[in-house]
C-alpha cells in the first residue's frame, strides 16, 4: 500500500517528489521545479527546468528576465503529464492570474499541493483569474496565511464601496491604495471598474509592467495612467495603486494630502493597519480566510493534511478535532509574498 510520503517528501526548501524527480515551489535552486504561482516566495529564479502554467512562466520572465530558468514547459489547467509514473495535473487555485494547485498521482494515491489559494464563492469576486477548483485527494497540502478564526474576509465589493465613499467625501485629496503588484493591484482595478468607477486610475511605476501583461491577456482594466509626471493638482480626487512599501515613502509627497489605504487580508486586524500608518484599511485578500480554509480541507475528502506557512497551530488543532491527521511543514521563506519590494524608493 502506497503512503503519501512515497509521493511527496517535505524538506526545508519545499516538498519533493522523488518518483518524478521534481520539487514544488522550492526556495533554493533545484534541477526540476513545478511552480504554483508567480509570487516571489514561491517562484524563485535559477532552477534547471520549470513546469508551470503559461501565465506563471510569463510573469516570472517579466520579473526575473529571459534567463530565469534553464528550460520551461507550460502545462494548461486540467492536462496531465507523466514523469516516471508520477502524473502531474495543474488545477486553478484562484489566487492570482495563472496560479495553480499541483495534483500529483502515483499508483492511485493523489496528493494536492495547493500553493496559495482563494476559494471565493462568487466568481465575480476576482475578475482577474480563473476561479478555484476543488480537487478531491488523499493528502492535501494547504497554506495557512489567514488560518485563525478572526480572519473572515467578507465581501470585497463592500470594501471597494468604502474606498469610493472616501473619494466622494475628500475630493481634494489623493487616495493611495497599497496593493501587491502581482495580482492584488490588477484585481483591485478590476473591482473598481466592476463597481462602476470609470475615471483613469494611476499606477506607481513598479506596477506598470505586470499590469500591462494582464491587459495583454485580455483582462479589461479601463484607462490607466502612470502617476509619474502627473501634477499635484491633477492627482486630487484620484486613485493611485502602489506597492505597500511606497505608502509611507518619499514618493507620496507628490500627492495632495494623500489618504493611505491598503488592500490586504491583514487589514482585518487593527494593530496591523495602525502599525503601517494606514488610514483606510480595505479587507481584500487573495487568500482563503478561516472559513474558506476549513471548508476546502473538509471538501477535499483528504484524510491527511500538511500545513505550510502562516498560523499552522490553529489549523492543525482544527484538523485534530475532526480526526484528520495533520502536521506542519516548516518550509523556510514562504508567506512573505512580494517581500522583495520592501526597499525604499529615494526619488
Amino acid at each position: 500500500m502506497i503512503r503519501p510520503e512515497d509521493v511527496l517528501v517535505p524538506s526545508p526548501s519545499g516538498v519533493c517528489c522523488k518518483r518524478g524527480g521534481f520539487h514544488i515551489d522550492p526556495t533554493r535552486p533545484v534541477e526540476r521545479a513545478v511552480i504554483t504561482h508567480a509570487h516571489s516566495d514561491h517562484a524563485s529564479a535559477g532552477h534547471g527546468a520549470v513546469l508551470s502554467t503559461q501565465e506563471t512562466l510569463d510573469l516570472m520572465r517579466l520579473r526575473y528576465g529571459e534567463n530565469f530558468a534553464g528550460t520551461t514547459q507550460a502545462l494548461p489547467y486540467g492536462e496531465t503529464i507523466d514523469l516516471a509514473g508520477a502524473k502531474i495535473t495543474l488545477h486553478p487555485a484562484g489566487h492570482i492570474l495563472g496560479s495553480a494547485q499541483v495534483a500529483v498521482e502515483v499508483d492511485g494515491l493523489r496528493v494536492v499541493a495547493s500553493g496559495d489559494y482563494k476559494n471565493a464563492a462568487d466568481p465575480s469576486a476576482d475578475p482577474t483569474c480563473t476561479p478555484f477548483e476543488l480537487v478531491r485527494c488523499d493528502l492535501f497540502i494547504t497554506e495557512a496565511t489567514f488560518a485563525l478564526p478572526v480572519f473572515r474576509h467578507g465581501e470585497p465589493d463592500a470594501e471597494i464601496g468604502k474606498l469610493l465613499h472616501s473619494l466622494a467625501l475628500f475630493p481634494e485629496r489623493a487616495h493611495l491604495v497599497g496593493a501587491y503588484s502581482i495580482g492584488k493591484a490588477q484585481r483591485l482595478i478590476a473591482l473598481l471598474r466592476k463597481a462602476g468607477y470609470a475615471a483613469p486610475i494611476y499606477l506607481h511605476g513598479a506596477m506598470e509592467k505586470i499590469t500591462n501583461y494582464y491587459i495583454e491577456r485580455g483582462i479589461a482594466l479601463g484607462e490607466l495612467r502612470p502617476a509619474r509626471g502627473a501634477t499635484k493638482a491633477n492627482l486630487a480626487g484620484t486613485i493611485t495603486i502602489c506597492p505597500p512599501s511606497a505608502l509611507n515613502d518619499l514618493w507620496t509627497r507628490r500627492f495632495p494630502d494623500p489618504v493611505a489605504a491598503f488592500a490586504s487580508g491583514w487589514m482585518r486586524v487593527r494593530a496591523r493597519a495602525r502599525q503601517q500608518g494606514v488610514a483606510l484599511p480595505l479587507v481584500i485578500s487573495d487568500h482563503a480566510d478561516w472559513d474558506g480554509l476549513t471548508a476546502t480541507i473538509a471538501a477535499t475528502g483528504a484524510g491527511e493534511i500538511w500545513v505550510t506557512h502562516g498560523q499552522e497551530d490553529a489549523l492543525i488543532h482544527w484538523c485534530a478535532m475532526r480526526g484528520l491527521k495533520a502536521r506542519p511543514l516548516d518550509i523556510v521563506g514562504y508567506g512573505d509574498e512580494e517581500g522583495d519590494e520592501g526597499g525604499e524608493e529615494t526619488s
Binding site: A121, D122, S124, A125, L148, P149, V150, F151, R152, G154, E155, D157, K162, S166, L169, F170, L247, N248, D249, L250, W251, T252, R253, D257, A260, R268, V269, R270, A271, A273, R274, Q275, G277, V278, A279, L280, P281, D291, G292, A295, Q311, D313, A314, H317, W318, M321
Partner: protein
C-alpha cells in the same frame, strides 16, 4: 448601527483633526434623528448606562468558540473586544452565493437608538442574552463598535469638543455657540439639530449654573510691548494650573436635578463638567455667580506646581485621602455673573472690583483672589516677569508660568479677540541635546521622520554615553523638517520598524536646542526625568555633539524646581 460603526472605524484610523471633523459632519448631515443624536452622545461621553464587564464578553465568546482557537486568536489580535468581534460566529453561511450575486443588502436593521434605549431599561440578568442577539445581527465592524460602546471603551481619538464642533458646523456655527447651551441639552438632541438646520429656534439654557464660553488671550511677543500703553493695562500672574469656570445658581435643572438650594458646577475651559472630580472646591461656592479662575493644589497656603496637580487629575474616583493629600483651590481671575446679573458686558476694571467684593463675601479659604502685579512702566513688568518671587508671588513663584496683561476697558468677549488679553509666558528652559532616534510621523507627515528622541551625556560603564531625556515632534519650521529628514535618512545606523537610530557620537551627529516648560521625575524613562512640553527650538548644526548638555544639569534644574527657587530663564 452599521453607519455609526463605520464612522467610529474611520475616525479611529484618521490622524488629522480636520478630516475627523469632516467625517463627523458627513455622518451628522446624512443621518436622521434620533440616531445621530445618540451618536453625538456616545462621542461626547454623555451616554450613561450600566457598562458590561470584560468578563461578560469573555464568557459569551467562550460559549461559542473552541478555547484553543480563542486563545490563539486573542494572542494574535491582542485586544479582547476586537478578538470577540472578529471571531464571533457569523449567522450567515460563508458560501452565500444568492445574497452576493444579487447584491442583496445585509440583513441589518439594528440601530444605535435601539441599542441605547434597550440598554437604558435592561436588567443586569438580561444583558448577556441581549448582547448575544445583537452580536449575531452585526458584521465585524458593527460588533467591534457595539462591544466598545457597552464596555465603555469607546476611544477613537475624538474629544467631546471636536464632536460639538462637527455638530456646530452643520449650522455654520462656532463650537462656542454649542458649548454655551450644551448643559441645557439632553440626548438625543433633537432641538439642537433642529436649530442648526434652521428648523427651530435656538434651545435656551435652562440650567441654573450654565457654562459660559471663556475669553482667551493671545501670546505676546516682546515686540508687541512697544505698541501697547502700560496705562491701559492691568497685569496679573498666569498660574500654572487648569483654567476653570465655577458657577453657582439656584433652580431646577432640565435634567430634573434639584437640591432645593444652590447648584454649583465646575467646568473645564472647553465646557466639560468636572464637578465630580473637585467637590472640595465647589463646597466653598455658596453664593450665586460665575467665577473664571485657575484650579490649583494648595498646601499650607502655598500653591503647588503643576507636577503636583497632575497627580490629582484624571482620577476616576475622588477619595477623602486624595482630597486631603491634594487639596483643590480656586484662584479667581474674573467674575462673569454676580447673582442674576451678567457682568460680561462690563469693562474688566469694573468686573475686577466686583470680583474682589464677591470673594470677600464668600469668605472661604478654598477660594481666593489672583493678585494684581503693580507696575508703572514695561520695564517694571519685565522685571516682575523675570523674578516673580520678589514681585509679589513670593513662595508661590514656582507655580507662576508667566504674566497676563488685560486691557482695563476690555469686555468679556468669548473666543480669542485681538488686543484685549495677552499672555506673556516666562521664558522656557533650554538645553542642547543630541538627536538619537527619529520616527515617522502620521497623516501628512507619514513620509517624514518628524518625531525625535534626544539625549544628553552621562557617565556610562565605558565612558560618556547618551541617555534619552525626551521626545519632540514640533517647534521646527517646514524647512527645518526637510533638513532633519534628510539628515536622518543619510545618517541611519539602525532601523526598528518605523524608527531609525541615527549616528550620535561625540564628533558626529545633530545637536538640537530643546525648549521645555518644566521637569518632573519619572520612572518610565531611563534618565529618571520627564520634560513638560518639549519642542525643538533651533538646530545647532554648528555644535559638535560632544558639547551638548549633561544629565547633571537637568538634575540640578529639577532639584531647584522642586524647591520652588527657580524662576525665569535658567539657560
Amino acid at each position: 448601527m452599521n453607519r455609526f460603526a463605520e464612522l467610529l472605524d474611520r475616525l479611529a484610523y484618521e490622524p488629522s483633526r480636520n478630516n475627523k471633523l469632516r467625517l463627523m459632519i458627513d455622518y451628522f448631515r446624512s443621518t436622521g434623528d434620533p440616531e445621530r443624536g445618540w451618536a453625538l452622545a456616545a462621542l461626547t461621553g454623555a451616554l450613561s448606562f450600566r457598562h458590561a464587564k470584560a468578563g461578560l464578553i469573555r464568557s459569551l465568546i467562550a460559549e461559542r468558540t473552541d478555547p484553543v482557537l480563542f486563545e490563539l486568536s486573542y494572542d494574535y489580535v491582542g485586544d479582547l473586544s476586537e478578538t470577540v468581534a472578529l471571531m464571533w460566529p457569523a449567522k450567515k453561511a460563508h458560501i452565500s452565493t444568492a445574497a452576493s450575486q444579487q447584491g442583496v443588502e445585509k440583513q441589518d436593521n439594528l440601530t444605535l437608538t435601539e441599542v441605547v434605549e434597550t440598554l437604558a431599561r435592561l436588567g443586569k440578568a438580561q444583558l448577556p442574552q441581549q448582547l448575544a442577539r445583537w452580536l449575531d445581527a452585526l458584521d465585524e465592524t458593527g460588533r467591534w463598535a457595539l462591544i466598545k460602546l457597552v464596555t465603555g471603551g469607546l476611544r477613537v481619538g475624538v474629544s467631546a469638543r471636536l464632536a460639538k464642533a462637527a455638530v456646530a458646523a452643520l449650522g455654520d456655527k462656532d463650537v462656542h455657540d454649542v458649548e454655551v447651551i450644551w448643559p441645557a441639552l439632553a440626548a438625543p438632541y433633537r432641538g439642537l439639530f433642529a436649530w442648526l438646520e434652521g428648523r427651530a429656534d435656538k434651545p435656551v439654557s435652562g440650567d441654573p449654573a450654565p457654562f459660559r464660553p471663556p475669553m482667551l488671550a493671545h501670546a505676546l511677543d516682546d515686540a508687541d510691548l512697544t505698541t501697547l500703553n502700560p496705562a491701559d493695562f492691568v497685569a496679573e500672574w498666569k498660574w500654572d494650573g487648569i483654567r476653570v469656570q465655577a458657577v453657582a445658581g439656584s433652580g431646577t435643572t432640565q435634567r430634573g436635578e434639584t437640591d432645593g438650594g444652590l447648584f454649583a458646577r465646575l467646568y473645564s475651559r472647553t465646557g466639560e463638567e468636572i464637578s465630580k472630580s473637585f467637590p472640595d472646591v465647589l463646597e466653598g461656592l455658596r453664593l450665586p455667580g460665575a467665577i473664571d479662575g485657575e484650579l490649583l493644589i494648595m498646601r499650607d497656603r502655598r500653591v503647588q506646581t503643576f507636577n503636583v496637580l497632575q497627580q490629582r487629575l484624571n482620577r476616576k474616583t475622588v477619595t477623602a485621602k486624595l482630597m486631603a493629600e491634594f487639596p483643590a483651590h480656586l484662584r479667581a481671575y474674573d467674575l462673569l455673573a454676580d447673582g442674576d446679573e451678567d457682568l460680561r458686558e462690563r469693562p474688566f476694571a469694573e468686573r475686577r472690583s466686583r470680583l474682589e467684593r464677591f470673594i470677600t463675601r464668600l469668605n472661604n479659604e478654598r477660594l481666593d483672589l489672583s493678585p494684581l502685579i503693580p507696575f508703572r512702566n514695561w520695564d517694571e513688568l519685565i522685571a516682575a516677569r523675570k523674578n516673580p518671587s520678589t514681585a509679589g508671588a513670593g513662595p508661590d513663584a514656582a507655580a507662576v508660568e508667566g504674566v497676563m496683561l488685560k486691557a482695563r476697558e476690555a469686555l468679556y468677549v468669548p473666543g480669542r479677540p485681538k488686543g484685549l488679553w495677552w499672555k506673556w509666558k516666562r521664558d522656557p528652559f533650554i538645553i542642547d541635546a543630541v538627536l538619537m532616534y527619529a520616527q515617522r510621523g502620521h497623516g501628512k507627515r507619514s513620509s517624514y521622520y518628524s518625531d525625535y528622541t534626544f539625549g544628553v551625556w552621562t557617565k556610562g560603564e565605558d565612558g560618556d554615553e547618551l541617555v534619552p531625556v525626551g521626545k519632540a515632534y514640533f517647534g521646527f519650521t517646514d524647512e527645518e523638517l526637510l533638513q532633519i529628514d534628510r539628515f536622518v535618512r543619510r545618517n541611519t545606523i539602525d532601523r526598528f520598524g518605523p524608527v531609525r537610530e541615527v549616528v550620535h557620537e561625540a564628533d558626529r551627529g545633530l545637536v538640537l536646542e530643546v525648549a521645555f516648560e518644566g521637569l518632573q521625575r519619572s520612572s518610565r524613562h531611563k534618565s529618571g526625568l520627564a520634560m513638560r512640553f518639549p519642542r525643538i527650538n533651533r538646530l545647532r548644526w554648528d555644535k559638535p555633539p560632544g558639547q551638548a548638555d549633561r544629565l547633571d544639569r537637568l538634575e540640578t534644574l529639577l532639584a531647584s524646581i522642586e524647591q520652588g527657587h527657580l524662576q525665569g530663564q535658567i539657560a
